[in-house]
Symmetry: C2
Subunit: 296 residues, 2 copies
């Protein structure tokens, strides 16, 4: 199989948009059309399945947010796995947003659980936390190398408190920059023939200046950019860390969740066909907005 | 209900040992007596259930390592939840080692999943990663405050690469020390009448000097000390961050996994009664060794 980075960048080029649909099941926002998600995980499964059917037309990548599935216990966990299977079967690339990180054998367990085949998720890529050190990333990198998968490391996140630890100054540079520098060996290991690496960096859209600075440190890493849409960043901010290529900007994917899952028109839909149309419109708009931001 | 910190310290005093049994299911070490753990999660469930029956006699606290359950998919996840229920039913305090961490609503999802009632784990405490900032800990703290639970934050971990990020120097002090300082507000919020706080700090036994230094920064935090036993730290190292009280040292729990789950005598056991005796001996020895280390 091709390297994950090559598969990802090729799929993004084919869709001509870096849009990544974030799959965040909020119990109180999933429309009653699917059943009551507060009572029944089958409503979450039906909602997710319908989202994927529409998303596959507009985006190359799906990002299930595992924490929002885990709130439903093991049934939620199983639901996330089934939806991962559906999306991959439909040709989407699945980036599992699990933010795992642990030592030695436990990290191996998480790597198997997220990137490994059944009973694992068999996701294409997983988000991991670097706080515990490079040795804790190794089990993920090693599975990724063997199975043509990717690893997305939290470097500079998009939340208001992101700077508490990430911006601490170490010899004149913030911690997040040191983390980026530390990842250069791992980045080389997951490099594809496209020149891009499957060692992705999570770089929040709410901090475009920092995404640009991080790009200097990590020239080959594909970026996973959260925070576009509901978290307030513009499409231009979201692609700030991308690089100029003959066909425009490229260098990662940009995730949108709430704006494409729960747009007002979909929340007001009276039947499934109105709901489908509203979701399709929201995804098409996000895909187009990001396409335009890259075409310069 | 009493504050988590009070329940924990009282339970440790009653058992007269800070031993915390780490529940780490390794597929290739679970004895064939329980079935083949590589094929069937019911072997993991039976093994875990038997471990808890013995552990409740020797230790106040159980620490299931969620990553090693997740490698079995949703059935593993469910197994960890059932074992948590069993251990709490038997009066043990369950510290779920999940090392979660995410932003806003996703962190709320993880907080519900780990500390919340069914379909959550309803664990007494959960381990969390501080890299994403204080706002990402808030949902856990808020559930902990409401439900008399605890939150154990990774500060200085026990693995070889722990220093990659945690030891970066920020104005003359390492990142882990800054993280400890940042947690003082949270520590106050989870303080019990015992004077101890349910905001626990994960402080690796393999770095006793650092546990002592961290104690100065976090005088009221209970420590969760991993790395004792198989990871090479001595009992004296493990309690290095504890403080002197009239009855000896106290201030947290010390986790042992491999040494009490897979001692040689248990691996060689020919039947269940030999296995039970071997596990009981290993746990009694660990409990006694830590008791002795505290009695000074």
């Amino acid at each position: 199989m091709s390297a994950y980075a090559d598969r990802l960048i090729e799929a993004v080029r084919r869709k001509d948009t870096p849009l990544c649909v974030g799959l965040d099941p909020f119990t109180d926002r999933i429309p009653a059309l699917f059943g009551d998600a507060r009572e029944d995980t089958s409503a979450v499964l039906k909602f997710g399945a319908s989202i994927i059917e529409i998303a596959q037309q507009h985006a190359a990548v799906l990002k299930p947010q595992l924490g929002l599935f885990e709130q439903f216990g093991e049934m939620g966990y199983a639901t996330a796995r089934l939806l991962t299977e559906q999306a991959r079967g439909a040709g989407m690339i699945v980036l599992l947003d699990a933010k795992r990180g642990d030592i030695g054998t436990t990290a191996e367990g998480y790597a198997r659980a997220t990137l490994g085949p059944k009973p694992g998720f068999d996701a294409d890529c997983v988000t991991v936390n670097p706080y515990m050190g490079l040795d804790t990333l190794e089990p993920f990198l090693s599975v990724a190398e063997r199975a043509s998968k990717g690893v997305a490391v939290l470097v500079r996140t998009s939340n208001p408190g992101a700077g508490d630890v990430q911006d601490l100054q170490v010899g004149g540079a913030p911690v997040w920059r040191r983390v980026g520098e530390m990842l250069s060996g791992a980045t080389q290991r997951l490099k594809g023939v496209s020149g891009w690496s499957g060692l992705m960096a999570v770089a929040g859209a709410t901090y475009p200046e920092e995404a640009r600075a991080l790009r200097e440190v990590m020239p080959d890493a594909l970026f996973l950019v959260p925070g576009y849409g509901a978290q307030g960043a513009s499409a231009a901010d979201a692609v700030a860390g991308f690089v100029t290529k003959p066909k425009g900007l490229e260098g990662g994917v940009v995730s949108s969740s709430r704006a494409v899952l729960y747009p007002q028109a979909a929340q007001a839909a009276k039947n499934m066909s109105e709901w489908r149309a509203a979701i399709g419109d929201a995804m098409a708009a996000a895909a187009a907005e990001l396409r335009a931001a890259c075409a310069r």
